[in-house]
Subunit: 366 residues, 2 copies
């Protein structure tokens, strides 16, 4: 099981330099503060980026710092948001992100959802007037680490074909789910509802490799193996079975856009511009569940252990090991906690340039 | 968008005879009552089978009546269950199905979840000591038709490879989601987390067609195009990207088995026997959300209309029309309401034989 993990840009360049996670987190915080961000919001974003890089999800990790520093300076992101939470019922509430960073608002939303779930057994919190929140896994993990199950979704601008369509419509619309595991790191699913992430197409282009079959189409909607000709990704399931990935993407739209009154995929301003001034008004949606309202801690622990144990001991293909959702991420995290987070050559140059332009110290490597 | 719909056994035989839905529902109720089932439970099962056939999901429709009549007679299913509901918190509760039919218990669970969601804004209800519940769509639709969003899942016995595995482990583990649409039938996603359902393999075998690529493997875990050699299905995403379908299947296991204390996939007794006496102790899990706690009815209606409108007007591949989740099902339902539900030749023989053995009148066709 790998999801997006370990599919990132490690292969760009040879033997990337590494930096310790705490140094990366401090560097990111300093850069965002120097770009004008409120320190608390900056710490939220830096924590999300760092933990995402630690888990190996490089597409949504420290790589995004350059982008975030830009959009908080251009005005798309409110650097000093006043987050508000309105409880609308015993188990429900709405966070207004005030057009600040999505990461900050999402951690805030999960904290409220956990508090509500303590009282009601289950809670849902939506986030309105938000922005890109990075990896959806961060927020469901925040709940799982406190003993709760959580589901989190967010839509994004158009990159993925609808089933039987020829032009991009849905975003990569991630779906994340986490659950506590006693004595171990949480169960973690964090997946785009497209076959592969857009960033993977760009990696293959940079590396000069062709695309695998059934993952992308050109601007006429015809299947392509050429990264440079890719105009859209296929939904999970590909040309024949993409109605399933597209249905998942639709569910994410209903929760993130319809349930928040925020724009859906095709009406969102592009993350990559050209407009870097107008807030994008993204919506997110989180559900948190207290397992103790369904089974005793003993039953939960035994049942989860039995399921994961049986899954992990299934016979593997060739020399592969069958893994549970999250296993690969936690293995990468352990390695990166010990040996630092790899930073690809181009990203290192970009981070140096960012530090120089903001007048903060450059990131120091191992 | 079709999900399992319209992929059923219509192609078996030529011009199958058709029967009106109300006649099928009466026939199914009478057969189950004659097999010893409590009338209320029988009506629940018959209603679920009939609405599923109406939507074109023939794999989970009236075709299953013969199986259900058998397992209630052999003792696997308790014919006269005493359903109980225990509320465990403001938004949570547990239904004990008393080893009766899963359909009956699931409609009961959804009714309780809707009542809780009215109070708390969101609710989750688990079902323990249950059995096969047919199509997961029935229960989420029951909530959507009352104005609520709903998510429903159930695991099943081993048919699907884990990612990188060679032997079946997960069930086809369906994931269903429905949401109300003002002035129209609900948004409906109801999908197995395998690439195709097992029943589709059997259809292709009966019809003498090969399997498409990347859907099934033989008993050594090697990809196969031969239906008769298929020993397991691939998870959604196929050989390369099946970690996503497998992660979804895992999420379904956590909710259906870990959160209920019921057996997970590989520890479930097989639906197809050989043991038809011992209750299978399946678990289900449902979440119901009141959209009114997040947006006004006007905003919800406008946002859903805008999203579905934009989706349905996307340019299509060749002569295809881009559809929203549920569109195909509702079109099939309209046709079958008018022209009756088709019953394939072999199924007709099986239903006649069932009626004769139970001493109920045979189903009359149009």
């Amino acid at each position: 099981m790998s999801l997006e993990a370990a599919k990132g840009e490690q292969s760009v360049g040879t033997r990337p330099q590494r930096a310790p996670s705490d140094r990366i987190e401090e560097f990111a915080t300093a850069a965002l503060v120097a770009a004008g961000t409120d320190p608390e919001a900056a710490r939220s974003v830096a924590a999300a980026l760092t933990e995402t890089s630690l888990r190996g999800v490089d597409s949504h990790g420290i790589r995004l710092l350059v982008h975030y520093a830009k959009v908080v300076q251009t005005g798309r992101i409110n650097p000093k948001p006043r987050l508000t939470f309105v409880r609308t019922e015993r188990g429900t509430g709405i966070v207004d992100a005030d057009n600040g960073f999505g990461h900050h608002a999402s951690f805030f939303a999960i904290d409220h959802a956990v508090a509500l779930a303590q009282e009601s057994g289950i809670a849902a919190v939506s986030v309105i007037n938000s922005s890109h929140f990075g990896s959806a896994g961060c927020y469901v993990l925040q709940a799982a680490e406190q003993g709760y199950l959580a589901l989190g979704v967010c839509n994004s601008d158009s990159f993925v074909l609808p089933h039987d369509g020829v032009k991009p419509f849905h975003g990569t619309n991630p779906l994340a789910f986490a659950a506590p595991v006693s004595g171990a790191r949480p169960f973690l699913m964090d997946m785009a509802t497209s076959v592969i992430p857009w960033n993977r197409v760009q990696d293959l282009m940079n590396e000069g490799f062709p695309l695998p079959a059934d993952v992308a189409v050109d601007s006429d909607g015809a299947p392509t193996h050429v990264p440079a000709r890719s105009a859209a990704l296929l939904p999970l399931g590909g040309i024949n079975y993409g109605y399933k990935g597209a249905a998942l993407a639709s569910m994410v739209e209903v929760l993130s856009a319809v349930m928040t009154g925020m724009p859906h995929c095709s009406r969102l301003l592009g993350m990559a511009g050209p407009d870097f001034v107008t807030p994008r008004r993204l919506g997110h949606f989180f559900i948190v569940i207290d397992p103790g309202r369904f089974v005793s801690p003993e039953v939960y622990s035994l049942a989860m252990g039995a399921y994961l144990g049986d899954l992990r001991t299934q016979p593997g293909r060739k020399n592969m090991k069958v893994m549970a959702p999250g296993d690969r991420e936690w293995a990468v995290e352990e390695d990166r906690q010990l040996h630092g987070i790899p930073v690809a050559d181009q990203l290192k140059l970009d981070l140096d340039e960012l530090a120089d332009s903001l007048g903060t110290g450059r990131l120091e490597y191992l």
